[in-house]
Symmetry: C2
Subunit: 423 residues, 2 copies
């Protein structure tokens, strides 16, 4: 089964909005054996939308469309669907009732534009949208040769995601499409793409030569992901091939791999803290709260995360973390000594088992020849040891913060997993 | 001049990577009068890549390609370009020297895969990549009827962005394409899309009826963006139309608009603090550092941001923010009283002019009928007043944090700009 995703909206074509819907839908379709071969984006233009529908329906079995279902004048996807399927609008009573109830609940008068969201092209199956007013729509028609499905959903990411999870995936799961595509991703950090590639050596040794298994290198500011993709006829065969390849990769680069699932580094660390019943405090200067923010993105983090200090001023380092002001005066706020004192002070004052600290120069201003923009010291303290490590993470402020937060979390992972810290 | 963007990579088709390159390139091309009409994504498959090249070059004047230029085996874009232009590879000596120097500097042996990054299809113009080893490539050919340009760049976002900024935009700027497309975006928060639409009333009154100006509503967790797009023959005429429409919109919804540029709410607030020479401290529970993180994303924030407290545990609220433990016991950690005490305590202890606080239930666990998941109290304290406001921000943990951080920053903006807080 091949699939296609059409995302509709001028905001995409002018670059105002980053298209996150494509990735979400593609991944979901993959999980039920639909392999996306094309993604296209068109503007809020009836002719171009109809063109895209025609092309997509001619080459793809499953076409997922997002965008243009909202209540405002620039939303024309439903019109395009009526035209494409040569049909008219009918009121979907259940949706209309829901919209009415929603407005009543909020004490707002029902607007015509909102009521019109209950209109759907005749003949479609309505896919309920429990968290928004525009429902999803499923059109199916089968010739003797092929099955064809077209699904239209709102462009608001979390509404679309809900409809996909509640309606689209269960619908296709029942169809039981035969070809299985499975992925496994090994997330690495602390090693560059090309050095990692060298370490792995021959790719064919890992993937074999029959073409059913592929390996891709995907670098980003947080590290490099290794993605294995397999196409097989059974889940068992697929999983077996993936596991074999993962074992080979791990034998060569184990210590850089922090996750082989969707888990982020903060999730992995959360699990380690939970299991070992340890507690954590953070003391951040240059990362400005990003580490605490990432740690608290994990549900249940209050079990092990006690508190975070964002000590942007020197005086806050002294007051909150008991960093000796003479140390700051002698070595500068960005120094091994201050990073160590911050971690140690955070641990003592928060009464946590472990503390981590950052102090660096995020830029763009504030660099000197000895301490350039991008320099960061990451400090660590537990009951037995206090130390700090130096990194140079480049001169882009946000990327610097991302990389520094990643390096700090990776330091925690390695300490808690007894993996050597250096290299 | 119409444009097209082709992004290449299996990681996009399986949904592992979110495509941020499209948006960036589209916006940049817009700025030099190239209007993107199509975006397509294809996998690492030679046939499909060549198909995409053929389609794009037949319908678009400017085709920008990203991805598949890396050093690993799955990168085949350069091969496809050679095939498409029916040419062979030549060594680009300058790039080779740079790669050699880079490896020397890092004390690494030069790998063949890395050296091969200096190979480019004969006849292209090399676009220097100062922060990576794969250079960009520009192909141009002009028939009597049309100019055609094809540009290939690495898929790593910041390398691509650098090449676009350094080479691509200056190149097209010189061409001076006649049709001008200009956008202006008014970012609103604290009002729903449909209520905002009602407030604005007739869209045609704002945009006029000749079709040169359009208005789009773009909702996201942080608010709704109003995007005006105009096509004109001169920058002056375009800017005049945009300003006129902006004035009309502002007359109806001024107080919800926090930015009419690329500035985020944290930038706007930074400017307000700087101008008024005020200082800020944050005290976060449920947002877990996200507010501090956003504030410190702004370069120069150390001028006004003194410190942040991430007080996840009750005891940290008492120790760091001097919140009376009896208040926590009586009203619960998520309460008006605690939010106010947090803000007030943060202000006193940090010796800042202003402090902001959050305490809420980010979920998915921890809700009760009286205090459901999504409930948050946002506290504010300055020299004259201390108060807290209640919000219900839904049950998705990350979205909850985003919305709560936005509501807190908006509260700051309104206070500092003397805009009424309520409604």
């Amino acid at each position: 089964m091949n699939g296609e995703i059409i995302t509709i909206g001028d905001e995409l074509l002018i670059g105002q909005v980053i298209n996150t819907n494509q990735a979400f839908i593609a991944e979901q379709l993959n999980s039920v054996g639909i392999y996306v071969e094309h993604m296209t984006t068109v503007g809020d233009n009836l002719t171009l939308i109809l063109d895209a529908f025609t092309t997509a329906m001619s080459r793809s079995n499953v076409v997922c469309i997002t965008g243009g279902l909202g209540p405002t004048h620039d939303d024309i996807t439903k019109q395009a669907l009526c035209k494409f399927f040569n049909t008219d609008f009918v009121v979907h009573q259940q949706t209309l009732n829901k919209i009415k109830a929603l407005f009543q609940q909020r004490n707002l008068p029902l607007t015509q534009a909102s009521a019109d969201q209950a209109l759907v092209p005749r003949g479609c199956t309505v896919l309920e949208n429990p968290i928004g007013s525009a429902p999803g729509m499923l059109f199916e028609y089968h010739s003797t040769a092929e099955e064809k499905y077209l699904i239209a959903m709102p462009g608001v990411p979390f509404e679309m995601e809900k409809i996909v999870a509640d309606s689209v995936i269960p619908f296709f799961k029942k169809k039981n499409f035969s070809s299985i595509v499975r992925h496994r991703t090994l997330k690495t950090t602390g090693i560059s793409e090309s050095v990692l590639s060298e370490k792995l050596g021959s790719i064919q040794e890992i993937t074999g030569t029959d073409g059913s298994l592929t390996l891709a290198f995907l670098p980003n500011p947080f590290g490099t992901k290794l993605r294995l993709t397999v196409r097989e006829h059974s889940i068992e065969a697929a999983e077996q091939k993936l596991s074999h390849a993962e074992t080979l990769i791990r034998s060569k680069a184990e210590k850089y791999i922090y996750s082989s699932s969707e888990l982020e580094l903060e999730d992995v660390i959360g699990e380690l803290f939970r299991k070992r019943k340890l507690t954590l405090a953070t003391a951040e200067s240059c990362t400005g709260g990003m580490i605490a923010n990432r740690i608290t993105n994990v549900s249940g983090s209050s079990e092990y995360f006690l508190r975070g200090y964002v000590t942007y001023s020197n005086i806050s380092k002294t007051e909150l973390l008991s960093v000796d002001e003479n140390i700051i005066a002698e070595y500068g706020a960005v120094s091994r000594e201050v990073a160590e004192a911050m971690a140690s002070g955070a641990r003592t004052n928060a009464k946590s088992d472990i503390a981590i600290s950052t102090t660096g120069i995020a830029g763009p201003a504030g660099g000197t020849p000895e301490k350039p923009v991008g320099l960061v010291w990451i400090g660590y303290a537990d009951r037995e040891i206090t130390f700090a490590m130096k990194f140079n993470l480049g001169d882009h402020r946000l990327r610097f913060k991302e990389r520094a937060s990643q390096a700090a979390l990776e330091l925690l992972r390695r300490k808690l997993s007894s993996i050597p810290i250096q290299e």
